[in-house]
Structures are given as structure tokens and as C-alpha cells.
Symmetry: C2
Subunit: 362 residues, 2 copies
DNA sequence: TCCCTTATTGCTACCGGTGTCAATGCCTGA
DNA sequence: TCAGGCATTGACACCGGTAGCAATAAGGGA
């Protein structure tokens, strides 16, 4: 239908031919012209407006398909004052968490025309809020997802509200209205860890918790204590240490525990990083992990399965929480219907038993 | 100059007033009006056009500052047919690589008004190219960065060229014109590993390489062989195994090596994942890592420093390569001048000696 | 003094969509 | 037969910038 009559060489095979000319993407105007309607009507069709006659809609859909037309998200963003970008803000975290969250979000975004823009930040940096402000103000994000590393920051959330940016917080407990939250129920996982250790006959059990500033530290600790209680045990004050979710802090806590007159026979660390550190400290003492001392972590990071002996830990379904967050955030803007299980607002941790735990020595 | 004379109600307080009304962002029109110039001239200023009178420029800059104006990237994207988004496409995430690359890119993007959009993919999926095509066609990316997991895919690169999307490939060796490449010189690091082991007196040294399909596997292997040669050693065919860059493949290769009549006293694995697997296999035999058998990895992943004993490995400056790629990709679009060291087109690996290697047993 | 250059700047038309609101056609009840 | 209501559709302005080119002012040489 185009310049097919030119007598010259290379007569451009078919419609999809890619000569070396610019090859412009079809626009809404092209569709409108070919379907013989106004662009507004085409716009209605691509936005699934119910006020379009069935025949008209079919005709337009046919043209869209023939042309391979897809609306330009940039233009849509400008006109509607809402970009087709989803923001992910996070702080330094555990790489595996980041990756899993990204994957989860993308599981949902894929095919919807939305893209994921990432924005790591540093909450200790006093300028971090301005960075975030710039980010969400510049791009008019379709929404923002806040994983656990930043979801508890009320100042951050205030900024989002201020800019009318929809958001979802992923956290160990409910922090907000349920519509804005995905709950990971960390306490549940810790409880399982406690029951597992108690079930192996351990009585002298220690805990190394994460930093005070994270809600998850408290949740994991209190879930653990609760689990112990169920088994008729209590957490001795001397065996209740605080770490910082880092490997090094795990090493230090482990050393302190190993130096005690009455050493624990089992240790539950608030995450795998610290658990790995604890293992190192135990080894320094010449004791065997899984035999002399059982160690449990939290997260099921890649580290856990690659350590020697492999670490018993609590698997937190981060990727699933990312999917749920996206579904909740975008709901109506998604093209395909989400899976049933992603509609739920919470995930449940699960204990993964490996070689780092064993029955208490007689 | 505005509608100040209207007698009606709600005379709209002042320009900067922020009641609780929406608080509209200033636009180029606001700047133009206040500076008493046309928007085109303001546009020239924000785009650093040289054809603006100095006084005019200063006046406009002052207004911009006063208003806190920042151009809307979406509108700019629409008008200029180039978004302010940088794409990162990658496969197979070694999480740490992904994170480091993202960080490196963001080190440079930060403050430039550009954002990072991520697009993980699966090269084994036959539809992956279409996914990528949709991605770069929809968003008109300012550019794309291809880290080593995808940089060798010529079909992918062809798609980028086809869509006139600028790109940079990060790879172990030069794959393209230098302007499109960042080179990581993996061979160099492997050579250091060989020299280290030879220096410890090892003679019977094995290698577990990555999969054939990655250039980096060959580079690391041939660098290693070269290093051995320098030390007067050669890589025995029986000790030259192929893995898949996965933990499990490392375990398997390690077992095979441990089953040999003449066991190697040192093993160099093509990455840390496999090295961890090798360590596990060695342990199964009852031998001690670092004493009976020395093991060297490649990447310096978090795993390396958290293992017991900590792994001697080759640190690959991934983050720096991400920075370089961004600088090369965006050059002129960046607001602040890049650091000297980020202008270089290649990074150099470095051996990190830890506890998994030691002198050969007498 | 006048025409031609060069330096600046603004007018106007887009980019590819969306929002508002009026217009059109047809059906229904009075 | 006529007004009113519902279902559809389109005209037009606008989102916030950029691009091409004409317009205007100032400087220089003949």
C-alpha cells in the first residue's frame, strides 16, 4: 500500500519490512485513520472504556492488530500525568532480597506495559528524603513499592502521600491500612524455628536478634520466644543478644555465646548473615556445627544452602510478596488477571531443615 | 500581568503559595513568563545551547532557581523522542553481579535526571528477544547496558541496533568497537590465581571452568593456563574439567577430582559458586580446605568471605564496570563531569587471598 | 548611509496521547 | 408528533517540552 510502484530496486518485501529507513512506529492517528474513527475513540478502545459500540471496537481492534500498534507510554504519561513506571525504593539490603523483590514485581509487570525503575537509597544519609522526593516528583510514578528495608520509614511514606503517589509497604506486620500493605509474618517463621530446636531436645537456646530499628527484629525475636514458650522453654537473658543483621555482628555475638560458662546448644540468628557469622565463631572454638551446636538462620539466602554444613533456616517468600505488592498496587492497570494466590495480602514463612541442626548431645 | 483584575472570588493567593491545593510543579511556561522570554529560549537554557545571551541566561537561571523548576522528563521524552531512561538487560542473575552493576550505573545516573529501568530476561526462552524488543521499542531508551550475562548475544545487539538504541557491552574481552564496550580482563585475574597457587608450591593443579557458551569461561581458563605456564607448569587434561558456573556443577567436578588416583593439591574454579561446590566435595572426602587442598574462586561474591574457611578468590570490579559503562553510554547527557577513573574503558581484576589456599603439603 | 552578517529570540507546529463537553442518532413514553 | 434520555462519537484544547525557520537587533564593511 506504500511506495510499491517505485521502479527502483529493493521494492520492500512486505509491510513488516525493515528497510534502512526510520521505520516509524504506528501511532493512534494511524489507527484512527485506518479504522475511520476519531483518535478519541481509539483511545477509548485501548483504555477499555465501556462506551464503545461493539462493532466499532472490533474494527479498531482489528486495525490495531494489523498495524501492531501499541500506545506510547511516554505520550500517555504526559497526557494523563501518570507515567507507566513503577518505582522500587530500597535501602542497602541483602542482595538476594533485592533480586527476589525485583523478580516478584516483574513477574506481574511483564506484559502490562509497565516498567520497573529502581531507586536504592541510604536512610542514614540525611539527604535521602530529597533524593526520593526528586525521584517521585520528576517521574510521575504509577506507584511505589517499599520492601522491608524502607517500609517502616514514616517520613518516606509521608513524602509519597504528599505527592499523591500510590504505594505499598511490605513489612513483617501491618503498618498501615491493609490496602497499602503486604505482611510477611516473620513471627510465624521464628516460631517454627523454636519448635524445631525444642523438638530436637535443646534446652539451652540462644537468640541473636537484628537491630532494634527494624520491626522484623522484634517480630522474629518475639515469635521465637513464643515458640519456646509453647515448648515449655524460656529465653534466658544471658542468651538473648542483639546483632545488626551483618555477618560481623554474628561473629561477635557467637563469640560471646561461646565464651559463656554455660554454652547454648542451639542458636537462632535473626538472619542468615548473622547465622553464618555465628557458625564461624562456633568453629573457632573447635566445636562442630550441627553436632555440638545447632544453628538456625532466617531468610534462606543462597548462602544458607552453600555453607558447610548447610544451614537450617526460615524461608521467607520474598518474591511472592513482591508479586502481591504489585498486584495490590496496580490492580486495575494490569492487563491480565492475576493469579488467585497473588491476591492474598500476606505470605507465610516456612522452616527449611538442613544439616546445621541436630539432636542435642546426651 | 495575570488575571489579577478579575473581581471574582478566590483570587489565587500568589505564585508560590501552597495552600492545600494540588501544588502544581512549575513548568517551562511559568519560567518563560516570569523571565519574560519565550519558552523556546528557556528550553535553550536548560539544554545548554550556546546561542543564548549571557544576561538572558542568567536571568532565566535565576527564575529557574527561584521556582525550583526542573524540566519534566516525560514531556521532554515525548518531544525529543528519547526518554530519560537507561535500560539494564541481564540474564541469570548472580545476584551480587546484578546488584553491583545496578549500583555502578546508579552511581553515575544519580543527579542527572536519568533513571534506571531493569529488564531481566532468560536467554534460553525462545521468546526472549521479543520481550526485549517490546521493552526498547515502547520506552525510547536513552541507552542500554549489557552486562556479561547477555553482552555476548549478537541477536540481542542486532535488535538494539535495529531500533537505534545506543548500548554498551560489558565483557571479558573486546566484542565490538571500543566505544561500545567495557572490558573486564578476566584472564588477568585468572593469571594471578595461577601464579598464587604456583607460588605456594603446588604442582598438581586442577581447573573447573564455566560453560563453553560464555566467553568468560575461556578467558579465565586460558588466563589460568598462561599463568601456570609462566611458572613452568601445565594444565593436565585429566585436571581440566568443565562446570556450569553453578554450585551443583562445582560439587560434581570436585567429586570427580577427588576420585582421581592422583588428586590435585589445588583447584581453581571459574567462579565462587563452583568453588563453594568444590569445597563441599573436598570436605566429603574428609580433607581440609586450605591445608590438604587449596581452592581459589573467582568473583569475590559475599559467599567467599562468609564461607569457612574464607575463600581465596579474584575480585572483579563489577561496580566500577557499571560506572564506566554508564559514563561511556551517556557522556554528554550527564550533568556533572565523571571522575577520571570512570573514563577508562577497562577494569582489572585482583586476587584476594584468604584462608582457602595454603602452601602445598610436604 | 545602506546592505549583509551574525547573534538572539520568538512564532508556530508538532510529539502521541487524554479530558471535556457538545453533537448526533435512535428509542421511548406521553 | 415531540421532548427527554441513553448510547456513541468527535472536535478541540492541552500535557510540557522540542524543532524549524522566520524575525529582529546589532555590528561591519563598502
Amino acid at each position: 500500500m506504500k511506495k510499491t510502484m517505485t521502479p527502483g530496486p529493493t521494492p520492500r518485501p512486505t509491510a513488516t519490512a525493515t528497510g534502512n529507513e526510520p521505520r516509524r512506529r504506528p501511532t493512534i492517528n494511524d489507527v484512527a485513520r485506518l479504522a475511520n474513527v476519531s483518535k478519541k475513540t481509539v483511545s477509548r478502545v485501548i483504555n477499555q472504556s465501556p462506551f464503545v459500540n461493539k462493532d466499532t471496537r472490533e474494527r479498531i481492534d482489528a486495525v490495531i492488530k494489523e498495524l501492531g500498534y501499541a500506545p506510547d507510554p511516554v505520550a500517555r504519561g504526559l497526557a494523563s500525568r501518570r507515567s507507566y513506571l513503577v518505582g522500587l525504593i530500597y535501602d542497602n539490603p541483602n542482595p538476594q532480597h533485592v533480586i527476589d523483590t525485583q523478580q516478584g514485581i516483574l513477574d506481574i509487570l511483564r506484559g502490562s506495559g509497565l516498567e520497573l525503575v529502581i531507586h536504592p537509597c541510604n536512610r542514614r544519609d540525611k539527604d535521602f528524603l530529597n533524593g526520593v522526593r526528586g525521584f517521585i516528583d520528576r517521574q510521575k510514578l504509577a506507584g511505589v513499592i517499599l520492601p522491608s528495608s524502607v517500609s517502616e520509614d514514616e517520613d518516606l511514606v509521608a513524602v509519597l502521600r504528599e505527592h499523591d503517589t500510590p504505594y505499598i509497604r511490605i513489612a513483617s506486620v501491618l503498618l498501615d491500612e491493609p490496602e497499602h500493605s503486604i505482611v510477611t509474618n516473620d513471627a510465624e517463621g521464628a516460631r517454627q524455628a523454636a519448635e524445631h530446636l525444642a523438638g530436637l531436645g535443646h534446652k539451652i537456646i540462644a537468640h541473636v536478634s537484628g537491630p532494634d530499628s527494624f520491626r522484623s527484629s522484634h517480630e522474629r525475636r518475639s515469635g521465637f520466644i513464643e515458640g519456646l514458650k509453647t515448648a515449655g522453654l524460656a529465653l534466658d537473658k544471658k542468651l538473648d543478644l542483639r546483632g545488626a543483621y551483618t555477618f560481623q555482628s554474628g561473629v561477635e555475638a557467637g563469640r560471646r555465646l561461646m565464651a559463656l560458662a554455660q554454652r547454648p546448644t542451639a542458636i537462632f540468628a535473626g538472619n542468615d548473615e548473622m547465622a553464618a557469622g555465628v557458625c564461624q565463631a562456633v568453629r573457632e572454638t573447635g566445636l562442630d556445627i550441627g553436632k555440638d551446636v545447632s544453628v538456625v538462620g532466617f531468610d534462606d539466602s543462597p548462602l544458607a544452602s552453600r555453607m558447610w554444613p548447610a544451614l537450617t533456616t526460615v524461608l521467607l517468600p520474598i518474591r511472592a510478596s513482591g508479586r502481591m505488592a504489585s498486584v495490590r498496587l496496580l490492580g486495575d492497570r494490569l492487563t491480565k488477571d492475576p493469579h488467585e494466590e497473588d491476591l492474598d495480602g500476606e505470605v507465610h514463612p516456612r522452616l527449611v531443615v538442613r544439616a546445621s541442626t541436630g539432636p542435642v548431645k546426651a
